[in-house]
């Protein structure tokens, strides 16, 4: 067990290091922007003195390394700075009460996105594994081929195409689910579920296909092994052979692909949230990209990267844990 613990600690340290380097990359990229935050807040007509004053206040006259560590120190404590858009709005109205920090803006939206991802995972994972087992069981049958064509099609379609097709059939022609997901605080759970059902279904279509194909491939890979032949020869039914003998041994690649697909959800969520006007972090990100609200873009980018690294790390660790040769070294 010591051995595994050591490997896992190594992976965790490596993940943390990657995240640190990624934060440097994001910070440097943002600092490639012409002009700086002070000019951006004050706009074109600002006098030299006021720009210099803001620069001093925000610490922008410091060298880049100092600013990076200031920013990083804030991020670690959950302080992502103030958003330009709300700072602008506040300077017009002359009050400071309306200024929202980036963390305040992101917080509730992050929870919404997590909710959407959770709903998707709850639908997609059991569906994908069941379909994958069935396709492996009845391989090369009509069912397998139809499933193959269907999954290839849904993998390769852009998210917005699937989204509009689902809106067309499930919201406009047959009004079952609402096509706009206006979610707010204090909503009943069932209503919330109903409103986020269409985006969750689109994401399900996108990730199920890949997970199902990998499940099928992982199981079929094992079917040539001697112990499967043994199980077959002793008269076990094909379903029992797969569920009792093949599936436990195929678990490592399946868990791996599930985690990787949840990581893929992070990218898919951006487009889907925009289509359904779902108030999540992806939509905030795209809006801030358009208004060039740099602190928000920077924070969202870091959160997406952190989630992505974390899920990849989980996939890595899970596949180590599910490998008995690593768990019980000779």
């Amino acid at each position: 067990m010591d051995n595994v613990l050591k490997i896992i600690m190594q992976r965790l340290a490596l993940g943390l290091l990657t995240l640190l380097i990624v934060s440097v990359v994001i910070f440097v990229a943002v600092n490639m922007l012409p002009g700086d935050f002070a000019q951006a807040i004050l706009g074109q007509g600002a006098t030299e003195e006021s720009v210099a004053a803001i620069r001093r206040d925000l610490g922008l006259d410091q060298p880049m390394i100092t600013r990076y560590f200031d920013w990083l120190g804030g991020v670690v404590q959950g302080d992502f700075g103030a958003s330009f858009a709300s700072a602008n709005a506040a300077s017009f109205s002359g009050t400071t009460s309306g200024v929202k920090t980036v963390a305040q803006q992101i917080g509730p939206r992050f929870a919404n996105t997590m909710f959407l991802a959770a709903v998707t995972a709850v639908i997609a994972v059991p569906l994908a594994v069941t379909l994958g087992i069935l396709a492996a069981l009845y391989r090369n049958s009509v069912f397998d081929r139809a499933a193959n064509i269907f999954t290839l099609t849904s993998i390769s379609s852009p998210e917005f195409f699937l989204a509009y097709v689902l809106i067309l059939f499930l919201a406009v022609l047959n009004p079952i689910f609402p096509s706009l997901s206006n979610i707010y605080d204090g909503m009943a759970f069932s209503e919330r579920l109903n409103k986020s059902m269409l985006p969750a279904l689109v994401l399900t279509l996108v990730v199920t296909a890949h997970m199902m194909r990998m499940t099928r491939a992982a199981i079929i890979n094992l079917l040539a092994s001697p112990y499967i032949e043994m199980a077959r020869l002793k008269g076990m039914s094909p379903m029992r052979v797969i569920v009792k003998h093949a599936l436990p041994n195929a678990l490592a690649p399946i868990i791996n692909v599930v985690a990787l697909n949840l990581a893929y959800l992070i990218t898919g969520v951006v487009v889907v949230e925009v289509v359904f006007v779902y108030p999540g972090i992806g939509q905030l990100f795209v809006d801030s990209v358009k208004t060039r609200d740099i602190p928000v873009v920077q924070a969202c980018c870091l959160i997406f990267a952190a989630a992505y690294i974390l899920l990849n790390l989980t996939a890595d660790i899970m596949s180590i844990l599910s490998n008995p040769r690593l768990r019980h070294p000779k």
């Binding site: 943002v30 290839l152 047959n174 795209v286 990209v289 992505y308």
Partner: protein, 399 residues
């Protein structure tokens, strides 16, 4: 509602039992029916019900009552499209088996229908993209004087159509058909150029890392690791934000920045593959022989490694093209990709998407955004079918 679903499921179970029993009785207990598990019988009943429902829905779509016909209009179009494409792919494969060189005829003989469909669609898109200027009835940026905006597709004057514009016009009066055809040139052309650039970058660096090894390999691999730790669409959006500030200052179109940004991000994936493939090849004896002959690195990379790495790289090219194409479409859909007035499918979907909501009353109006989105989907599906077939063929997977 739940009771209904439960009743249908139980009813289907009963039907499945009857089906199996009838099969056993009719065939004198043939092995096919005797050993049939209940789940398989259930599957047959389910499939029969789905096919039956589709046929019923198709004839509902041809109903004379417009309220019912509108409701099933898209399903009808979908079924007709599926059948037409299947027949076209079959005829295309048949033609491919008769004409052409011995090599191409042999290839078509071993081809499944899905791959034939893919090859056919890719050829059609290539022709559209190359001859867009000749095929399109109007210019992509042309606002035709005296023509109303938002003409409905279909060309039926009673429904607000116009025969001169079979797919209608957009919100400022440009011909949608022309813009779709030019979209093939812009969207596909830019995606193709980006993929080529990504392969040039990633392939060269990957082979260099594989042949040199040592510190160069370490430095490049660690850089790629870091770049791959950021989700690609997110990273592309971040860099596009920065590029959109720089582009007007430098006087370079934003599209050029987009091509470079996506090419660099995607070249990391190409680097991974070409390095792995290259490492397998550099340990071969013929590389050793070439090194002993005193050949330079350029010769070894382009004359020894590259020809032996073609098959996996070609399959990867197809997949990479799909990714790049979808990323560009997504960026354009989000409004930061290919910039107007260039016709582009992603932008068209975003501009026309509101029409989906009119589907119940004017189904033709809702087809415009779906056509643009479908054009993207059709090409990626086609490329994926071909790649899937190539991988299957090269892996020799026969199970």
């Amino acid at each position: 509602m739940i009771l209904w679903i439960a009743a249908v499921l139980i009813g289907m179970g009963a039907l499945a039992w009857v089906f199996r029993f009838a099969g056993q009785a009719a065939t004198g207990n043939a092995p096919k029916f005797r050993d049939m598990p209940f789940g398989v019988a259930y599957g047959y009943v389910l499939a029969a019900l789905v096919v039956g429902w589709l046929i019923w829905a198709y004839f509902q779509g041809r109903s004379s009552d417009p309220a019912i016909a509108n409701k099933f209009f898209f399903l009808r179009i979908g079924i007709e499209g599926f059948i037409i494409f299947a027949i076209a792919a079959w005829l295309f494969r048949l033609a491919g088996r008769r004409v052409g060189t011995a090599w191409s005829r042999k290839m078509f003989r071993a081809m499944p229908l899905t791959a034939a469909f893919g090859v056919m669609i890719i050829l059609i898109y290539a022709i559209l993209a190359i001859f867009a200027g000749l095929l399109a009835p109007y210019g992509q940026e042309q606002i035709i004087p005296g023509v109303a905006a938002n003409i409905t597709p279909g060309g039926d004057p009673a429904l607000g159509g116009n025969l001169d514009f079979p797919l209608g016009t957009d919100q400022i009066g440009r011909d949608i058909l022309s813009r779709l055809i030019y979209g093939a040139q812009n969207t596909v052309g830019i995606a193709f150029a980006t993929t080529l650039l990504a392969f040039f970058l990633g392939g060269t660096l990957g082979f260099l890392a594989a042949t040199f090894g040592g510190w160069l390999d370490q430095v490049l691999s660690r850089m790629v690791d870091v770049l791959m730790a950021i989700p690609s669409l997110i990273f592309a959006l971040l860099l596009m934000t920065i590029a959109s500030v720089w582009a007007p200052r430098l006087g370079i179109p934003l599209t050029v920045f987009m091509v470079i940004i996506i090419a660099v991000i995607d070249s990391t994936r190409v680097f991974r593959l070409s390095r792995a493939v290259g490492q397998n090849i550099v340990v071969m004896d013929y590389i050793e022989a070439a090194k002993l002959r005193g050949e330079g690195f350029g010769y070894i990379i382009f004359k020894e490694i590259l020809p032996n790495a073609t098959a996996p790289l070609l399959a990867e090219f197809g997949l990479r093209f799909c990714f790049v194409f979808l990323t560009i479409a997504a960026l354009s859909f989000l409004g930061v990709g290919i910039q107007p007035p260039l016709a582009d499918w992603g932008t068209m979907v975003r501009d026309l998407s509101g029409f989906v909501n009119y589907a119940q009353f004017a189904p033709m109006a809702a087809t415009a955004p779906l056509l643009a989105a479908g054009a993207i989907a059709l090409l990626t599906v086609a490329v994926n079918f071909v790649v899937d077939w190539m991988l299957h063929k090269s892996s020799g997977l026969k199970e």
